[in-house]
Symmetry: C2
Subunit: 281 residues, 2 copies
């Protein structure tokens, strides 16, 4: 993509878009040289260089020799975004219980366009076999969590072009039928639709008809039971998370001592509650 950019008089929105463009260019192999960033973003070299150096100063990027990488400030902001999310905060203890009770890999995800974004993943060695990660994406229609959210919200207009396996949903009629079945059962099954050899059971989280997230258990097909042995715990977890998120609205994790708030740039330190938002790993 190429963009013509003027140096003076540009609007803040244009600058924001350019920053976004620059950061997006790192969504690939990681380290990039100035030349590579210029090529990927279409920004003028000198303007890109000034922006990169400013982003390095703010720790949004890191420079090592001639290479730029995403920086620690993004890790901090991402972590903060995650831990300020009230669904995520409410879910953590229940997700861990679900993992302990089933021995399967547990995911929490939200819908974003035609994709799901994972907010949490809990699993021991088996987790390594499933190529998902917190902050990662999958096409919603290929996953149990995605189908659960789509079904509950009656969303059928999604991009079906990206299929993960030969079992992935491929057509809108197929999707419509599948979502109807999911609404009837209150739970979504996924059988090797995202990863050969693996299956999932998911339930939507949120007020009926307006699910805001979903929880699932995933494992090798031979360890999955597509019946009440998994359906009941998954649905109970989904209901428990929503109840806890609604109750807790603002104060969910009063358990632990305070973590020092993140140190930031020039803003005055807000006092506070955020110190209670913890990662119980």
């Amino acid at each position: 993509m190429t963009m013509a950019v003027e140096k003076a008089g540009e609007t803040p929105s244009a600058v924001i878009d350019r920053i976004s463009l620059v950061l997006d260019s790192f969504d690939g192999p990681g380290r990039l040289t100035l030349a590579q960033i210029v090529r990927r973003t279409g920004l003028p070299r000198s303007s890109a260089h000034r922006m990169l150096e400013r982003l390095v100063a703010l720790r949004w990027l890191r420079r090592e020799g001639r290479d730029y990488e995403l920086g620690m400030r993004l890790v901090e902001l991402g972590s903060l975004a995650l831990h300020q999310d009230r669904i995520h905060r409410a879910a953590i203890p229940l997700l861990r219980d679900l993992h302990r009770a089933t021995g399967l890999v547990v995911h929490l995800a939200v819908l974003d366009g035609s994709d799901v974004v994972y907010l949490e993943k809990i699993g021991d060695h088996m987790g390594g076999a499933i190529p998902t990660r917190v902050g990662g994406r999958q096409p919603a229609h290929c996953t149990a969590v995605g189908k659960a959210i789509l079904a509950d919200n009656h969303i059928t207009e999604v991009d079906l072009t990206d299929r993960k396996t030969r079992f992935s949903i491929a057509t809108t009629p197929q999707l419509v039928a599948e979502l109807a079945k999911i609404r009837a059962h209150g739970v979504a099954f996924e059988r090797e639709e995202s990863l050969p050899g693996f299956g999932c059971v998911a339930a939507p989280i949120g007020p009926a008809g307006h699910a805001v997230a979903a929880v699932s258990v995933c494992g090798p097909m031979n360890r999955m039971a597509f019946d009440n042995r998994l359906v009941a715990p998954v649905r109970m977890t989904a209901m428990g998370i929503w109840r806890s998120a609604e109750d807790g609205a603002d104060r969910v994790a009063p358990t632990l001592q305070s973590l020092r708030p993140l140190r930031v740039g020039p803003a005055p330190r807000p006092m506070g509650r955020d110190s209670a938002s913890l990662q119980p790993a």
Copy 2:
């Protein structure tokens, strides 16, 4: 802090700083109204509003009614930053082994100014008792990981004002003596200096004299052994992580047998980012 901002002709750097200021303002209670953001940043209301709406469109922020929150794009970027980090990538399997072998909470951290930032935390129920999280900070001199990195790099100029407990290091001479001891032992002990009732053992990761990170095990004081039972596994893990990060390899021999002289400087890029970089939670 108050900032006077002009609408036209401002430099991209000034805009970047304002975005940073806006995002930093969320480093507190989380949800903020426009009025609160204006108060915290000192930006003019209309300019702040335009910026916020642009950030919402890019999913850096999320708006719910009148409240703004940090958005999913930050979770994605933060996750990407973490998983593109070669130390983090190399460390994951070894951190899990260390957790399994010791039963203690395992941390991976880097130094940032006078703080450490946690890149990973692995621990089961005990993890919940320790108020750290990925992307969170602690004053370096209060933690074993921080002291290990400071010692190896001979850094003694840090901000000692923030003490976490009455056992935290309080003066520069105290710090200097402690760091010398750590260099002599190759390992850092922390006894209730960050959290009452808990202790840690940490080792630096990186070429001698230029540690770039550190790994630690933490647990209740009565479960900690400040001797070779923990020192050996922690040091071996640190060495294994660095060797693996240098190789850029995905598979690691978790013993000292194949240790070869450390090479200083940037390693060649490991191939194959995302689908291969797993979060084994």
